[in-house]
């Protein structure tokens, strides 16, 4: 065989078949992976969009089986916003404080390493177990004379879920602030609290916001911990020590409903919830990209 023949001869058949086969599998698997995503998005838009009327944001759910009234789920939106806000109110300052500790004070010490380890465990706890914890701590206790399902219990569970996310992303954000900025501040005579607040946190703010938004998006979609902490309600949210509705629990409840209007509502609610979560996620990306 000449050199030219040696160089231009095609590969043996079995090797070529292997390559084509693997490429085909790659295409197939990629398609399979994308299929559920596309299906979910498609169905939600197809089934949820038609009912996306203004009333959804202003009305209470119609009584089951009553098709004369245009129902909505304004109370569920209320509940989700309320509980996520309460959870953020607790977990964000707490989380940032812990991250400041880890990044500025504890660093690689024993306490800091233990705390990081504990946080990684906390983030891996199934959300239903967190719900069980919140149930035992809050629902079973009497608070201000009230014992039972409440928004307080729900937001407690959500706060525990949000905490590791906030701490992790804040610590990463703080690490990005150059070390010599801290030194320059100290060299001017600022104490550590002043340096942290005026220089470090300020510089890290966009990245911290990103992490917070991600945590909020995650908390908004949680269902399992809310099922037996906040339960659900068909009326407006009036106080935090009462069963409270939420978008996610509503979708769950309506999914097994015998009434088609309710399952239709659930599609629309899914659309709204998914929209909420996606916008929050996109917002968080935008903030760090702008920098």
């Amino acid at each position: 065989m000449t050199l030219e023949q040696q160089l231009t001869r095609p590969l043996s058949l079995d090797r070529r078949i292997f390559s084509y086969f693997m490429s085909a599998i790659a295409v197939l698997f990629t398609g399979l992976a994308l299929l559920p995503l596309l299906s979910v998005l498609f169905e939600i838009l197809r089934q949820g969009l038609p009912n996306l009327k203004w009333e959804v944001f202003t009305n209470l759910p119609a009584p089951a089986g009553d098709t004369s009234v245009v129902g909505g789920f304004a109370n569920a939106i209320q509940g989700t916003v309320l509980m996520v806000s309460m959870a953020a109110l607790f977990s964000v300052p707490f989380g940032i404080a812990i991250a400041v500790y880890l990044s500025e004070i504890g660093k690689s010490g024993a306490i800091a390493q233990t705390v990081r380890f504990v946080l990684s465990i906390l983030s891996a706890v199934p959300s239903i177990v967190v719900g069980v914890f919140a149930y035992a701590v809050i629902v079973l206790s009497t608070i201000f004379g009230y014992r039972g399902f409440s928004a307080l219990a729900g937001s407690f569970a959500l706060a525990v879920i949000m905490l590791p996310i906030v701490v992790l992303s804040t610590e990463e954000a703080l690490k990005l602030v150059p070390k010599h900025q801290r030194l320059a501040s100290a060299a001017l005579g600022a104490n550590s609290m002043q340096t942290v607040f005026k220089i470090v946190l300020k510089a890290a703010l966009p990245s911290i916001t990103t992490g917070v938004l991600l945590a909020i998006a995650r908390a908004s979609g949680e269902t399992a911990p809310l099922i037996f902490t906040a339960l659900f309600s068909q009326t407006w949210v009036e106080q935090i020590l009462n069963p409270t509705p939420s978008l996610s629990v509503m979708i769950y409840n309506y999914s097994s409903s015998a009434f088609p209007e309710q399952t239709q509502m659930a599609w629309t609610a899914s659309l709204v919830l998914l929209g909420l979560v996606t916008i929050t996620n996109l917002l968080s990306r935008l903030i760090t990209q702008k920098r």
Partner: protein
């Protein structure tokens, strides 16, 4: 450029100072005096501990890493490492300018005002005055006076470094430490800063670390030559009037270094 050494007050004094990073000794038996109102330059090859020394003076070194200091370091007669020392006060009295300009991501005005605000509540008009004076002292006022609200990061490298100097001057330190302030700058910016140091010598005591011997010869009253041997532990080889160091140094190692025979 020459000032005779009068019996001026001792701004900083080191007696037998050893500096350690953890277990590793970085500087050994440093004894030197820095006089009030003078510019003292510290020269020497890289890695000989020049930066380490000045970072021990304002106790910034211990923030960066495990720095331990043995021996006596005094600031106007007060022991810098006394347990009663308030670190924040010390650092306010001993200012520092770093190698790479590091303005805060704020406006020019806020950068200069930062140190003042950290320590006291000053009326807006007084603060304006202090900012203007600091920027003027740093030879930056004319260039930025119409744009004080602009971000400090929009300035050129040389301007940023002068801003950092202004920022340090605003809190009115008694001593200004400069750690190779021109090494990240172009020759023109460097020249401006040298002029600036010259104009400051009336009001401030300056210690400048530099690897640029010509610079040390141009601007300093006294020069200290640091070096290491095979042990890699820094030592003070010679400290004298600048003119003497550069023309007729006593120690042969100093002569070798300033004549460029080793670097």
């Amino acid at each position: 450029m020459l000032h005779s050494i009068s019996q001026s007050e001792l701004a900083l004094s080191a007696q037998n100072v050893d500096v350690f990073y953890g277990d590793r000794k970085a500087l050994s038996s440093i004894s030197m005096d820095i006089y009030l109102g003078q510019v003292t330059a510290i020269i020497g090859p890289s890695g000989c501990g020049k930066s380490t020394f000045i970072k021990a003076l304002n106790r910034i070194g211990e923030l960066e890493s495990e720095m331990r200091v043995q021996g006596q370091l005094e600031f106007f007669g007060q022991n810098i490492y006394s347990p009663r020392v308030n670190l924040n006060r010390l650092r306010r009295q001993i200012g520092m300018v770093f190698q790479k300009p590091n303005p805060f991501p704020m406006s020019i005005y806020d950068n200069v005002a930062y140190g003042v605000r950290v320590f006291s509540r000053v009326s807006r008009s007084l603060l304006d005055e202090m900012v203007e004076k600091a920027l003027a002292d740093a030879a930056l006022w004319d260039e930025v006076k119409d744009n004080l609200k602009k971000s400090a990061l929009s300035l050129s490298g040389g301007q940023q470094q002068r801003l950092c100097i202004a920022r340090a001057l605003a809190v009115k330190p008694r001593v200004l430490l400069m750690d190779e302030p021109c090494s990240a700058l172009d020759p023109i910016a460097t020249m401006k800063i040298e002029e600036l140091i010259n104009s400051l010598r009336q009001e401030f005591t300056i210690v400048i670390v530099t690897h640029n011997m010509q610079q040390a010869a141009r601007i300093s009253d006294r020069t200290a030559f640091f070096s290491t041997d095979e042990s890699r532990i820094g030592q003070l080889v010679e400290l004298d009037d600048t003119q003497k160091i550069f023309s007729s140094a006593t120690n042969s190692r100093t002569r070798d270094y300033v004549e460029g025979r080793f670097g």
